[in-house]
Symmetry: none
Subunit: 304 residues, 2 copies
């Protein structure tokens, strides 16, 4: 009964492809082969019959159907028309830029810059498209109502966690970030009903984060997770799941685009929280800016 949770079906009007690549790791091998074909060329897949696609993916029609259900569709025909729509929307051919892919060995810096910017920008846009405002709203509610907010993250996600902590702190919310598992665990043990624990994990498999969130949840805190993979282990200890939409697979991209995608979500939460009490947030920002003013040098221009 652990399989197939909700994983919003029609709540992905903007990014079916993104949605699919997000739950790629949750799929079985045969389904994954189908998914890869679909993601690689949605328009082409839409034109194929279910038998064709099954053959191309070296599997059976039954598996294709199962794949459809896995990604939240009723059946193959529905997938087909959704794919056709999706393919039509992404009209622009991104010239020489290797979309979501690797950077060719001989690339000069100008090419590298263009490729990175393209992928980074796209991760941001696609993340925003698939972000569920309802879930965001609930998370904002939780943060606003929380006595205290704990934020966890390891490695690259740790920096994102620190960023959120920094931002919430600046608008006067009590927020903590713990780079260290042990400290985090002790803190989580002290959380209670009404408090919020937010975990960041790109892959969703970081055991430290899972452990700490589990602890927090068992104490009655509301748990939130930010990950790229909506069916990863970490989501099982989360009350609210926010997802990013970075589709980087190669080493060079590394945590590159995913990090920007995460930060975009952080921004949304931050602004969402700040918007709840604008005057207080504004005042807090001014006060904190004033606090570091003596560390600023005069120059032609700048702002707080």
């Amino acid at each position: 009964m652990a399989k197939s949770p909700k994983v919003s079906a029609n709540s992905e009007p903007g990014g079916l492809i993104v949605h699919i690549s997000g739950l790629l790791p949750a799929l079985s091998p045969a389904e994954r082969r189908v998914a890869r074909l679909v993601v690689a060329n949605p328009g082409d897949a839409a034109r194929r019959t279910i038998t064709d696609l099954a053959i191309a993916a070296e599997t059976s029609e039954a598996t294709v159907i199962r794949f459809c259900r896995s990604v939240g569709m009723d059946g193959y025909p529905q997938l087909r028309i959704r794919l056709a729509a999706e393919a039509a929307r992404r009209v622009e051919p991104p010239d020489a830029r290797v979309v979501g892919g690797d950077i060719p060995p001989g690339a000069d810096l100008a090419q590298i810059i263009a490729t990175i910017a393209f992928n980074d920008a796209r991760a941001v846009e696609e993340t925003a498209e698939q972000l569920d405002p309802t879930v965001c709203e609930r998370v904002v509610d939780a943060i606003v109502g929380a006595g205290r907010v704990d934020i966890y993250g390891a490695g690259a996600s740790g920096l994102v966690a620190a960023d959120l902590q920094h931002k919430l702190h600046r608008i006067g919310r009590t927020a903590f970030y713990f780079p260290d598992l042990h400290t985090a665990l002790t803190s989580a043990a002290l959380l209670g009903r009404g408090d919020v624990a937010i975990g960041m994990s790109h892959t969703g498999t970081t055991s430290d984060v899972v452990e700490v969130l589990g602890q927090a949840r068992s104490r009655g805190a509301t748990t939130v997770v930010l990950t790229n993979f909506p069916r990863s282990p970490v989501t099982e200890v989360a009350d609210h799941v926010l997802t990013t939409a970075a589709r980087e697979t190669t080493y060079r991209s590394g945590a590159t685009a995913s990090r920007l995608a995460q930060l975009t979500v952080v921004d949304c939460l931050f602004v969402g929280v700040a918007a709840r009490n604008r005057s207080r947030a504004r005042k807090s920002l001014e006060v904190t800016a004033e606090a570091v003013r003596s560390h600023r040098l005069g120059s032609g221009r700048r702002r707080a």
Copy 2:
């Protein structure tokens, strides 16, 4: 079989609907009823089965097929996917997004998300556009040739600094990040010719960063600065200036977009450095990934 007007099938990739309504008068009454439905709501028609559509048009399936042929399609499935694609394309982006501007007080979360994503993505793109590949190249040269790299940054920029440190470190470059001014000063005092000091400051007026970079430079290190304002004080102690292009002015945007822009530049530098010695970089990444593997759950596949 005296019909077959041979009306171009795929020669209307952009305007299938227009095409259909164009030859509407040439259709038989029953076919025309079908055509009207299709033209009135392409997306809806794409979702229907041939039987449904036939019933809705008060005719038989056979007539629907005839209609498909009349407008140049092979059959109903093809019409369906073409209609789906067509419908998707004519969904114009509403763009309630306040470009580069403030978020209105009454905005709901969906609007906030759209606005943030738009501004974030734009900051990334514009930064990449104005980034000087020549300067980047020189900075990459310096990093590659450096015995050691010091990275400084305060506040929000500190997180960016930490990110760069983290990335360089992971590909085996000796890099340090100092969140604390005093430690940073002592470190800078130990730099020498061939070493590199990189300072991050959005405003370019952070006195701490200026001071430390000045120290580093006086010791003979190559200094690099990443700022949004190319004429700010910090640029005076820099050998190489890299600029971001975030045009946020209001408090709410805060360090929001600028941070993403900075990270994009970090990515470019990182990939630039990694590209200089791909095999070494790849190997380092693999080794470091392996080091944290035991902290990952359900490697590859999910399942809690």
